[in-house]
């Protein structure tokens, strides 16, 4: 977070910003369901933090290496939930487990997410000299409540979170009085309907939202494939991950003096000119050679010993990097250059082993150099931190994409936020911890950014509904980077980002504080959604606790009062309704501006909305028709209400489907 909050316009230096207007989120409680917390981290110091909020009913539960005095006025809650995990994993040895049977964090993920959203000020932090700056959460005086429901399993080298534990954590958090819940967890597609208990987070979140708790969830890391976004219930704020205007260029100098700037988190010594090799069979031997990163272990050791190895991979995951590095290292190699599509997951290689990522174009340049000379050499210098221009903002490759696979008319993700190369607190037990801090990437890191912003907004607007916060951040989001440049979405190939990449755009805290109009929703609207989505009366009745009979004919899912319009199957023409609530100046007049998607006609009525002391809510209709004659992909536009002070913008996404329910692979 040494860059995150300045990038988002929440600099402490500015006395007139949201941060100061809200006393930095004081009195707002953010709950995290995650891997626990390292309470001694400086990120959870309570310097300057006021008394514990009076609405707090939770507490700190003692356990292994965790006592109640580990909590303070900052970290006000810490509980752990392991019964479900243990009941399903009877072989799990709690005595031998490296994880702590308490709210104490072993792996560091929960500590990281909590410090991103609500960590206290920690000056002058860097990762071995990289990404230096002041560390803090989005709401530095917000209070933190930790619910540990995720456990490190040594045998798997991975973390597992039992849904029965997650649900218990959600249940307790509702009792304890959290205001915002942040969950950086996900399941696998296919998704389950929201009324189906198999989507436990959606079920728990429904009850939390009904009680006024804002639930923020990670959208998942299965991008850039379409329809992979998770946590898609309309009562959840679903977050995509973007980059910052920060990168870590790492100079690679070839023997022909050409300098290429790769990306890495390499903090070791400069590697002077060293032999460079691309493992391939020149045709003189029957031995196996491979320049594929995942198959470098097939090469004879002598091919790579004492050299820097160039390899190519189609895998954008960090495992491709770590595996290649381990193979080269095991063979006695001195470094690895990985040519790949950007993955935006620059977790550092272990032991300062140089492993530098470049794209295929630059990789091909290196390969051509290797093939053009008898004794190719390369020099690798340590990574540097580059902030601001010319680094552009991108939606991360790994960030899961819409459309929503369960309800395509409900736009997901809702919003984007920085989630790449984020330096924040961690557990000192984590392998990659440096002094209790670590650089991580994922929608796990993006979700708490939004949770932190929501905490500030909650301090400013304590009576807003969860949907109002969602509307405020979606309608005011940035569609460009801080330099006014378009935001791109990484994938194959790179393109300008659209709502399926980042919903409304990148969260803009200052603007979200004063959105002008909001698209509000309450339990009645969620019931309308459930009815329109085809759930039966009895399952809705039991979910909401009141006898519910859906109207006949059922209302359209397109009428759900979201701050977005998504029509996945437009054939001829549809008319939908939205209602906006004025939360700005009492006497206001808004005029509509329509930026229609290509080939789509959008007619709004009325074109002017007049608000006064008696008229707070106004409805309008949107007639959408297509001129396309074929099944198209999605085209994107915007619907904007403006009073010259505010531009209340919602994304409009329309796909023409002349032939419906049709899969086209031709």
């Amino acid at each position: 977070t040494t860059r995150t909050w300045d990038y988002l316009g929440l600099s402490v230096a500015n006395p007139n910003n949201l941060l100061n207007d809200t006393n930095m989120g004081d009195q707002v409680i953010i709950g995290f369901i995650d891997t626990g917390v390292w309470p001694e981290s400086e990120s959870f110091n309570d310097n300057g933090v006021g008394p514990i909020p009076s609405h707090w009913k939770g507490g700190c539960e003692s356990g292994e290496k965790f006592i109640s005095t580990n909590c303070n006025r900052k970290l006000i809650g810490a509980k752990y939930f392991i019964n479900g995990f243990l009941a399903e994993n009877e072989g799990f040895n709690t005595t031998e487990s490296r994880d702590y049977i308490s709210a104490r964090d072993f792996i560091g993920h929960g500590t990281h997410t909590a410090s991103i959203a609500g960590g206290s000020f920690v000056p002058n932090i860097s990762y071995k000299g990289l990404a230096g700056g002041n560390l803090r959460g989005g709401a530095p005086r917000a209070r933190i409540a930790i619910y540990k429901a995720c456990w490190y399993v040594d045998q798997l080298g991975a973390v597992a979170c039992s849904s029965s534990d997650i649900l218990k954590a959600m249940d307790e958090s509702m009792h304890d009085g959290v205001d915002v819940l942040s969950l950086s967890l996900g399941a696998q597609i296919p998704l389950y309907p929201e009324t189906d208990l198999r989507d436990r987070i959606a079920t728990g979140a429904f009850h939390a939202v009904a009680k006024g708790i804002i639930v923020v969830c990670a959208g998942g890391n299965s991008g850039p494939a379409a329809q992979t976004v998770l946590n898609t219930a309309p009562w959840i704020i679903t977050v995509a991950a973007t980059t910052l205007d920060r990168s870590f260029p790492t100079p690679i100098t070839l023997g022909n003096r050409k300098v290429i700037l790769g990306q890495a988190l390499y903090t070791g010594q400069e590697l002077g000119f060293t032999s460079l090799v691309y493992p391939e069979n020149a045709g003189f031997t029957n031995e196996t050679f491979s320049g594929v990163c995942e198959r470098l272990n097939l090469n004879p050791n002598r091919t790579m010993a004492g050299k820097v190895v160039l390899c190519f991979t189609t895998n954008t995951l960090f495992t491709a990097v770590s595996r290649a590095a381990s193979y080269v290292k095991a063979a006695g190699g001195l470094g690895v250059i990985i040519a790949r599509n950007p993955g935006y997951n620059l977790t550092p290689c272990r032991d300062d082993f140089p492993c530098v990522a470049i794209d295929y174009e630059l990789g091909t340049d290196v390969l051509l150099y290797i093939r053009s000379t008898r004794s190719p050499v390369v020099k690798i210098q340590p990574s540097r931190t580059l902030v601001g221009q010319p680094v552009g903002t991108k939606v991360a490759t790994f960030s899961s994409r819409g459309p929503n696979s369960i309800s395509p008319a409900i736009l997901k993700p809702d919003i984007g936020a920085p989630g790449v190369s984020i330096l924040a607190a961690t557990s000192p037990d984590s392998n990659s911890s440096v002094g209790g801090f670590d650089i991580l990437a994922g929608t796990s890191m993006a979700a708490p950014v939004v949770a932190g912003v929501v905490a500030l907004l909650k301090a400013l607007h304590p009576n807003w509904s969860p949907a109002a916060f969602r509307s405020a951040i979606v309608t005011t989001a940035w569609r460009t980077d801080p330099f006014g440049e378009q935001i791109f979405a990484e994938g194959s190939s790179r393109k300008v980002a659209d709502p399926f990449d980042y919903g409304g755009g990148i969260v803009n805290p200052e603007k979200a504080a004063d959105p002008g109009l909001i698209y509000d929703m309450g339990p009645r609207d969620y019931i309308l959604y459930l009815c329109s989505a085809g759930y039966n009366d009895s399952s809705i009745t039991q979910l909401v606790g009141n006898v519910t009979v859906c109207s006949t004919p059922k209302t359209s899912v397109l009428d759900v009062n979201l701050p977005s319009i998504t029509i996945p199957d437009l054939k001829d023409e549809v008319t939908l309704t939205r209602t906006v609530t004025n939360v700005g100046t009492v006497d206001s007049v808004y005029k509509v501006v329509v930026e229609p998607p290509l080939g789509i006609q959008v007619v709004v009525a009325p074109e002017t909305l007049v608000f006064n002391s008696k008229t707070k809510n106004v409805s309008f209709t949107v007639r959408v028709s297509t001129t396309h004659k074929i099944n198209t992909g999605f085209y994107f536009g915007n619907l904007i209400w403006t009073d010259s002070m505010h531009n209340v913008t919602i994304p409009v996404s329309v796909r023409t489907q002349i032939l419906q329910n049709y899969y086209d692979e031709n």
């Binding site: 891997t35 399903e88 597992a160 979170c161 849904s163 996900g186 436990r200 079920t203 009850h207 039991q542």
Partner: protein, 85 residues
């Protein structure tokens, strides 16, 4: 199969404000199914009683099916795992 696994028994919005009462109703439901309070106590993993009503318990498939057929039960599902994002 006869093997007991954790199942989540979801009962929807809670019908009573007193969490102790809600929890007691869960134990009663489980006792009725399993035939004894002791078995219910051993089987119960969690009682969800603050934000909504339900419980997690170790049940065989046939026990889970029986509970799922109860009118007050919304859904019974085997436990599953989430991962970090």
């Amino acid at each position: 199969s006869d093997e007991s696994k954790v199942h989540i028994v979801y009962l929807g919005e809670k019908q009573h404000d007193d969490p102790e009462f809600v929890s007691e109703s869960h134990h009663q439901m489980l006792s009725s199914l399993l035939g004894s309070k002791v078995d219910a106590h051993e089987s119960m993993v969690y009682s969800y009683r603050h934000g909504f009503s339900g419980f997690a318990a170790k049940l065989t498939e046939s026990q889970a099916k029986k509970l799922a057929d109860s009118p007050e039960v919304v859904h019974v599902m085997a436990d599953s795992f989430y991962e970090l994002a």
